[in-house]
Chain length 236, copies 2
Amino acid sequence: MLKYQQIATELEKYIEDNALQQGDKLPVLEALMAQFEVSKSTITKSLDLLEKKGVVFQVRGSGIFVRRHKRKGYISLLSNQGFKKDLEDYHVTSKVIELDVRNPTIEAADNLNIGLEDEVYYVKRVRYINGQTLCFEESYYNKSIITYLNKEIVSESIFNYIRDGLGLKVGFSDVFLHVDKLNEEEAEYLELEAGAPKLNVETIFHLSNGQPFDFSKVTYNYEQSQFFIQANSNFL
Amino acid sequence: MLKYQQIATELEKYIEDNALQQGDKLPVLEALMAQFEVSKSTITKSLDLLEKKGVVFQVRGSGIFVRRHKRKGYISLLSNQGFKKDLEDYHVTSKVIELDVRNPTIEAADNLNIGLEDEVYYVKRVRYINGQTLCFEESYYNKSIITYLNKEIVSESIFNYIRDGLGLKVGFSDVFLHVDKLNEEEAEYLELEAGAPKLNVETIFHLSNGQPFDFSKVTYNYEQSQFFIQANSNFL
């Protein structure tokens, strides 16, 4: 982790520890430089990163302010740090249904940019929140990139393992959403009636060099899940 | 619009005009500087902006590459440029059901950070895609910021008017999603059965100074809508 990333993490902790609310003003640059004992360029880079992440917003000539929505229990659609951070007041667990090496489906091959004769790790999991079903997940990992997975890894955070265990750099992702009715299989795993509403989220995760390494399809239990995104003006 | 923003727009057009695909490499910095007749710092700022918007990704020591997902007909969840850009091959229209000045609901007042005795413009619209219902929308605009609206403005792009007509600077937004079943009113406007699945999207739009000016609640026809987000590694 680079210096400015460390400082950004500490600044986030500072906001949390001091229970700062939306619109609260952060100390001026000079004070932050003194507090964290870093240069102006480092603190500026840290604040830019936090702005991109939706943690603060900067008003020219006026200062740096905290961004923090009021709603609890929402899952971030743009984070792959797992549910832990969003749902820290809840108890989230996973049950691995299947884990094996196989050839990809046509859909997975297309989204991973690989051939039908290539190999993927296929992972099927159900995740639970406070003992209720949260989501049903099927993921396809390109085995030439994610060279090894086992049941223990798959029960915990796969992305922590990819970063720390395999040393890979995760880059951007494309996320596709649609709402539909649960089919029989999904309903069974989610312990709901077939035909009930569902949110389906398909994500293609890429390494920072642009290579897609994971295609995942997640179906959420609509009664147990709600989502948020903090968007910044770059998209507007 | 600043110079680097102009160049970013031109670069996006260049990618489109040349039908560049995901993974295609852009010309090197020097070539782009010559092509657009700008300095290195300007072209770098343009490329950073395009990276934030999910149009390109940069690989250190290797170059700048095009990001472009393959799926057509998806609506961007992080854009408020209206549906025009995402659904340009489709015919999208609006019908204004109600437009008036009133006091906010408790929910709207809470999300807009105003009092119950303050005034809002209330807008109720149905939007159509190729003659089918796309979504049902209720919006509350803080009248002390959005000082004037009329039926003509509300039938077109309200955000273009806010920027160009009122000269306001739109900043960040908080987006909340959940899936549920359509109630009677929503079903009627969307011409679907009550109880059918829906995606509900609530957005709080802020000016760049952090002031919330619009709280909107949109219910989508699940048969006519699908969504995408291009996320970058800042969120990971």
